[in-house]
Symmetry: D2
Subunit: 335 residues, 4 copies
């Protein structure tokens, strides 16, 4: 089967190779992949900055969708022909995360990812694709959507009438916007592009802020919330935006810490203290969260936002497009 491998770190070092067909154990399932989606983590992995000690070669990308083409003798969950997605953290079925579970993520050195024709997975490592979604749409879910769901619905315990602040228009932020609107919340979106902000409005955003034009966007958020601040921040910016996010959140509010986009750097923890803020680190989520999210997606006929699609042999172009930062929602590769 055809597989993309990261043979040495440094972007552009993705190599298309032939590998032997996967072996099948009694509780395993073979998936023929049809689509994969990109996350910022994939870009960092290619560059060698995500996990510099990862063993190579490694198959990259965590988010794949496809159909079941073979099932092991003891498999109960799946039949040939079923449409499935991969679970980001294969060993995290439910409950809380642990060291052992965290070592089972796809596509960044723990376990081989999905940028390949076929893959073999434990039957619990897959989840059913909602009926109204294409393979391309389903491939957007495993990392970004589950992260947004965990951040707002599980950790954030989001309710109708809450106010949510999302930063930028990457995959997690757009899913966060969609899930927040699905729960009847009010959403404030920031971006550096008026065009993207208009798109966010179309998806239901209640308020928009162009942070290139309004540099003190945190104060703009306070003005939009009677100077109280928002209930939730979906914080994907890291050290670069966290101080402003802490200014924009209400006393006793919730900051879901997700991204590492804005790179390293420090911030003063007294912001957390003086507003009695809850900061919760979010590492994607469990199979059970994915399952409940899919119920919600199906029940509300939610459609993921795909910005652009690439062919299998355009993976490098897809990564460069992500690097440019010009996307709105998800970037998908058809396999």
């Amino acid at each position: 089967m055809k597989v993309y491998e990261v043979r040495q770190f440094g972007i552009e070092n993705l190599v298309l190779v032939e590998r032997a067909e996967p072996q099948l154990k009694a509780n395993e399932v073979v998936v023929k992949f049809h689509a994969a989606s990109l996350n910022y983590r994939d870009l960092m992995f290619e560059k060698g900055v995500y996990n510099p000690k990862a063993r190579l070669p490694a198959v990259p990308f965590s988010d794949g969708s496809g159909e079941v083409v073979a099932v092991g003798a003891d498999v109960k969950k799946w039949n040939v022909g079923d449409r499935v997605c991969t679970i980001f953290t294969q060993g995290w079925l439910e409950g809380s995360l642990s060291i052992e579970k965290r070592r089972t993520t796809l596509g960044a050195g723990d376990l081989d990812g999905v940028l390949r024709e076929y893959g073999t997975f434990d039957e619990n490592g897959l989840i059913e694709v909602p009926g109204h979604l294409s393979f391309e749409e389903a491939a957007t879910l495993p990392c970004a959507a589950v992260t947004a769901w965990n951040a707002l619905v599980v950790s954030g315990n989001l309710k109708a009438g809450d106010t949510v602040l999302t930063l930028g228009t990457g995959g997690v932020s757009i899913f966060a916007l969609q899930f927040a609107k699905m729960h009847g919340a009010r959403v404030i979106v920031t971006s550096s592009s008026d065009q993207k902000l208009t798109k966010a409005k179309d998806l239901g955003a209640d308020e928009i802020i162009n942070y290139k034009k309004i540099l003190d966007w945190d104060n703009a958020v306070l003005r939009l919330t009677n100077r109280i601040g928002v209930d939730h921040v979906v914080e994907v910016g890291g050290a670069g935006t966290l101080s402003k996010s802490l200014n924009a959140v209400r006393i006793g509010g919730h900051v879901a810490v997700i991204g590492v986009l804005a790179g390293a750097g420090g911030f003063d923890p007294r912001g957390v203290l003086m507003k009695a803020v809850r900061m919760q680190g979010i590492l994607v989520g469990s199979r059970l969260m994915f399952e409940k999210m899919n119920n919600a997606i199906e029940c509300n006929r939610l459609k993921p936002v795909i910005d652009k699609m690439f062919a299998f042999n355009e993976v490098s172009e897809a990564l460069r497009y992500m690097e440019s930062g010009s996307h709105f929602g998800k970037i998908v590769v058809s396999l």
Copy 2:
């Protein structure tokens, strides 16, 4: 001022009288009432079966809306002209209920209710009317809407994709339907009337069951949920429906126990045990719940469903209409 009083129990014993103008303390507010809504409790109170030991005469009805016409010297929350609703349990501002707080409900013997021209309240005993609602619409909120919000959003921790079962089409059940849809949930509605079920569909109900035609409606619910059962039951029927509700809920599910409509009677607690069900008694809710609910109502432009309106001098007709059980949503009296 003109006041309706319950002088002795027995329906029809509502008497319209003149009372002296209320006195005003430093932290109090005088409200001129414009509308009031009926709850089943009001009917039971008139008949003397809600609280047979209540001191009479008493001003009935708990749910009123109107405008502020005078404020005490220390009042900070309100100005003359503000549009306000009464809080059902005047002393329950936030946190959990207590014996002391429970003794401060309006309109059933604790504190005088709202069926009068003017009323005097502690400034914390009122809440702002959402801007897009009329006085009549706002008068529907204090008991039924807060109860439904507490049942599903606070106690039930409702999430998009959850399945909710509501029984009948009274005020609480219709608000529960609306709040459940507002949070992206799936809703199954039962009623004895196809016409009401059609109206429920128009409000967003995903599934409808006519329990006069389908006597084992609990099994119908199981069939609609892959034999798993629903996540939440908004149980307004009491002993008359509880055993079926326990059959219709999933293992580990949530039954919000609200109503006393179906009268006394027992049920076997082993239903609770064998499905590890959580049964939560719901006694309306706190001022804080009301406030958060109003945020949600405002944010989502929700409109309460008023079935029928009556004039001040038609209160008895309004009660008889409620007794007939033919309403869908709320019954309102214009004052």
Copy 3:
């Protein structure tokens, strides 16, 4: 190997037979049993009233302890010689219960129980015995202790200073007393025997009530709590005691519904409503709860209370002793 089998229902129909050695799969472990403990469920199962449709013959008893004598090729958790307990619900590892998980309990018709010389289990179906406990002590934990832990610590979210009411002195109630004291709570114990109440005092009970002498023990509980009521009831009596328990609990309090001892019967659900009570059905608990409970047992050097020990060939006497109701804590069979 030697096995006790229930061949037909009706107490006394336990038969000691020889069965073939168990087969071993890659993820399985063979345990040589050293001790088993009795639960009321075992008595009901023998009599055919627990699950009258269970397939026979079946090996009874859910709670066993022993040592690992063989491990399958893929087993990572265990080595030969490890001291282990069985998990009551083999398939409930963490998170919430489901229909599928509930079908995996030991010793009552789902899966063979522990009243045998050797047993084969999935590696996740076992848990390590705390170092300071004997096999006999460890055998008391899987059902009664995990039930009490789930009731008070997981469902009840017990805190120091809370007041807990336990009914009687069976296995669950005594563990509940011990766990409540371990968390700094105040405990009120009821029993029909002054002698048992004295023993409960020795274990830390703060207040004792002989319900044979004080028939309105619910009012006695109210008197001991400034007429507020207790925060938690560990309700093992079922319909026979539930109405009194609802009288004894505070507004907004928590009733963990566990037992079926007092047989069928109904109760009026308005008690739940009018005090805004939370009633939670408790079906033992997950592997993760067991693990956390064992941490607590080990950290606090807690010793389970064993009332009486029986030899392998005295199983019928042990069951009759349980039936007599004269025990305080757990009854254990040495294998």
Copy 4:
């Protein structure tokens, strides 16, 4: 009455003056103070670094105890002679904190503190002293004890068997040690003094680490927890210790951010992300938390640890003693 006032910032600028007797409103209570305790915040306030914009003169110190000597006409909670403590945040009765509530703390510029002979408070701004505590012991509770309770019991949801890390031996850390042991948890204490660590052992600490001798105390904590990390960190060190605390906590663990002792500085938020940590800022707590804590203190006969007592005219010495950092537990001034 005699009052200590901060007239201008800079330690040593406490001045003893005479002020007029306080006025009494209908819902107010006059307290004659018997004792006050010091918190690090008081030291910072004197120096002008806590709230440089506070209006002066101001009466410092938040934590006082005394007896009721007069009650307003409408006061229901108190009688003359009752023994009471002040609430740190006078307006935070229950529920969550808000901007308005946060502006009602004692002794740092919002409201006058307790370093005076008499004080007038709203009846809800006081709480009953547990019966077994002296005034000196009770004066230790309002800030440090409630903070520790909020951190571990409310925010941390502490359970028996959890592992807790406390830093140093100041007031909050010693209460955290005591509350953790009260709940059956395992506690690891750090300090720079072997003598203090021995005292911590006497109070029940399970493990001790001298961080002057073991500079990588975070790794020492990992070694003591099978390299898993602790469940809770009571983080009083701020930027100076937070990175190490994040190394010492388990995946999905809880860091209660309390102190500002170690001054300003930044830390890399990726530590929060990569371990899915929950960081919760703790600003003392509500009246309701204080009430529940007092139940626990009374039920478990807990005695606060007083390091040293000073007379009214030795307040400056008391502050200097706190500044020296040589205390273990609380410093108290007798009034």
